[in-house]
């Protein structure tokens, strides 16, 4: 919980990871390129006081994660959204066993979402059923730019993805978090195209599709589909840290999201360990649309901030909000 100016905010960090990118886990040069790319994101958007040494960034471990999120970071509940990246890392990028063990060690604080890759076809479907039972899955994280053999990405609209989404319906996995990385095949098309989310959201209206980093770098395409599909949500991973280095750009992003979606379909996430939640929560509660931009965008309200910082994701994941921390009019999904 975070408190400021007499207001209490229930915090759900909807996108965190426990990753291992140390050299001994890197399968090849791409493992190094991938974590270096993340580290440049971290260096580019973090306040100077929050910069980590490269070595710290490679691996955090459970103890540090608990401290950064819950002791220092005001987080009440966090949701793991692992990326597997087996083509880059020997023992995966997201550390399944360590993260799942942590959720059992700290009941009520962590939710473990797992991932699937529809290109494993029948074998992967069987695995998904086992994973759903073992982890009690309410959600999955899909990284569509994952490399597998000579394929460097897939789409939500692929035949096999639909088979997996049908299994999700059946298994009660209702929250599909989509990370649109550059999906390479075919190269003729825009690698960041979000049209496949549109197709899936239309055909699976009982599933929620949370598009991480709100479709960036295709904010406009994301907004256009989200305004038409009520089950499409925006995850603020990567977008929210712009608040520090580029507050006026962030004002436009959040202003557009509030215009095209609404305040019930936007979720805070630190994207830990890309960034830590402490400074992001503090700055977001203080954030105001700059005065000269309020002609374009209305000022953010306390209720909107409460929904974005926790109540929206709590509603989506049936996380209990302690008395006094909700709103008179509850967030709905």
């Amino acid at each position: 919980m975070y408190s400021k100016d007499g207001e209490n905010y229930f915090i759900v960090d909807a996108h965190v990871a426990l990753w291992d990118a140390r050299p001994e886990n890197q399968r090849n040069i791409h493992g190094k390129q991938f974590i270096d790319c993340f580290y440049d994101y971290h260096r580019n958007l973090s306040p100077a006081s929050e910069l980590w040494p490269y070595e710290d960034f490679l691996y955090q471990g459970g103890e540090r994660l608990m401290k950064d999120l819950f002791t220092d970071g005001y987080v009440d509940h966090a949701i793991f959204q692992p990326a597997a990246l087996p083509a880059f890392y020997n023992n995966w990028f997201g550390q399944t066993e360590e993260a799942f063990a942590l959720t059992r060690e700290h009941p009520g604080k962590l939710t473990y979402n797992h991932c699937f890759d529809p290109r494993f076809e029948e074998a992967g479907l069987r695995q998904l059923r086992e994973d759903a039972a073992r982890f009690g899955l309410k959600g999955v994280k899909l990284y569509t730019a994952e490399w597998k053999g000579d394929s460097r990405g897939y789409k939500l609209s692929d035949k096999w993805t639909y088979r997996y989404l049908e299994a999700c319906q059946e298994l009660g996995i209702k929250n599909i978090h989509v990370h649109k990385g550059p999906t390479i095949r075919p190269l003729d098309r825009d690698a960041f195209d979000v049209a496949d989310v549109d197709a899936a959201a239309t055909d699976f209206t009982d599933l929620n599709f949370v598009v991480e980093h709100c479709g960036l770098p295709r904010l406009e395409d994301f907004c256009w589909i989200a305004t038409q599909e009520p089950n499409v949500h925006a995850g603020l991973a990567v977008a929210i840290p712009f608040m520090h280095t580029r507050p006026r750009y962030f004002a436009q992003i959040i202003g557009e999201l509030l215009y095209w979606l609404d305040e019930d379909r936007i979720q805070f996430s630190s994207d830990y360990a890309l960034w830590t939640p402490k400074w992001i929560v503090e700055q977001f509660v203080d954030f105001r649309i700059p005065e000269d931009m309020t002609g374009e965008y209305p000022q953010l309200t306390v209720a909107q901030k409460k929904k974005i910082l926790g109540l929206n994701a709590a509603a989506m994941y049936d996380i209990e909000v302690p008395a006094g921390l909700g709103l008179a009019e509850p967030a709905v999904v």
């Binding site: 260096r43 973090s46 460097r152 390479i184 931009m293």
Partner: protein, 263 residues
């Protein structure tokens, strides 16, 4: 042609190569890492903000660079190399062999990249249209958004924003006559009056997206290659950080610690 002349001509030629996604010359973005020209041999190294920038755009910029340099009268041998990208080896081999898009990418390529170019030409036009019309709305407060359907190109003031809009229209094959309507769809057709505020609003989100990506990509390039800061020219934006009166040259904020690429 002397070495210095050839180098200047080569730099000018690279200035005609655009990042299609960000709608800016690669020279302004700082993507040209080095350029040498000796005895008719031109060698260019390109660099991008991350190893995982989309390879189709990376290939487009590299192959467009090779084409632009190859057309110079004094260049008898042109080498273009893309540095530090996950597909550097693949793309550099393809460029060296003049293998073309399909020859370079094999099964990952279907036809060509013209449709991709088209998507981003249309986005660039939409963003330029929004910039010009939003500027007009600010300059003429009595003008309502709904009236923008009546605005023709001749009504727009002679500004950089208007000239940029005319260039984008020409690139798309749309009319540039002063009597042509200014607010149009990708095919040059005006919108029904009832749709105008929504269409302007959507055009705004296109503009914000492109501007935002351009700034993030520039910033990441400076984080990755601190020396690239000196090569980048400022990009004007609608709401520059630090207030509207900020000068273009003040837009740089080096937020990352000044150390060379982590490795």
């Amino acid at each position: 042609m002397g070495a210095a002349q050839l180098e200047a001509a080569a730099r000018a030629a690279l200035g005609t190569v655009y990042d299609p996604e960000l709608d800016e010359p690669i020279t302004d973005l700082g993507f040209v890492r080095s350029l040498t020209a000796e005895d008719g041999r031109v060698t260019v190294h390109l660099r991008l903000p991350t190893s995982f920038c989309s390879p189709n755009f990376a290939y487009l910029m590299a192959s467009d660079s090779k084409d632009a340099l190859g057309a110079l009268p004094g260049a008898r041998e042109v080498t273009v190399l893309l540095d530090d990208h996950h597909d550097s080896d693949l793309i550099n081999r393809g460029l060296a062999a003049d293998a073309g898009y399909r020859g370079t990418f094999g099964h990952e390529a279907e036809q060509d990249l013209e449709e991709l170019r088209g998507i981003f030409r249309r986005k660039a036009h939409t963003a330029a249209m929004e910039r010009a019309l939003t500027a007009l709305l600010r300059a003429r407060p009595e003008l309502a958004e709904e009236q923008l359907g009546d605005v023709v190109l001749g009504d727009l003031p002679d500004t950089d924003a208007t000239r940029a809009l005319l260039r984008r229209r020409a690139a798309l094959g749309l009319g540039t006559d002063p009597a042509d309507p200014a607010l149009v769809d990708d095919d040059g057709r005006p919108y029904p009056p009832g749709e105008i505020p929504l269409r302007l609003r959507f055009a705004r989100s296109v503009r914000i997206s492109i501007d935002g990506n351009a700034h993030f990509c520039r910033g990441l390039l400076r984080t990755r290659y601190p020396r690239s800061a000196a090569d980048q020219s400022a990009r004007p934006e609608e709401f520059p950080e630090g207030g509207e009166s900020v000068q273009a040259g003040d837009l740089f904020q080096l937020t990352a610690p000044p150390k060379e690429n982590v490795s």
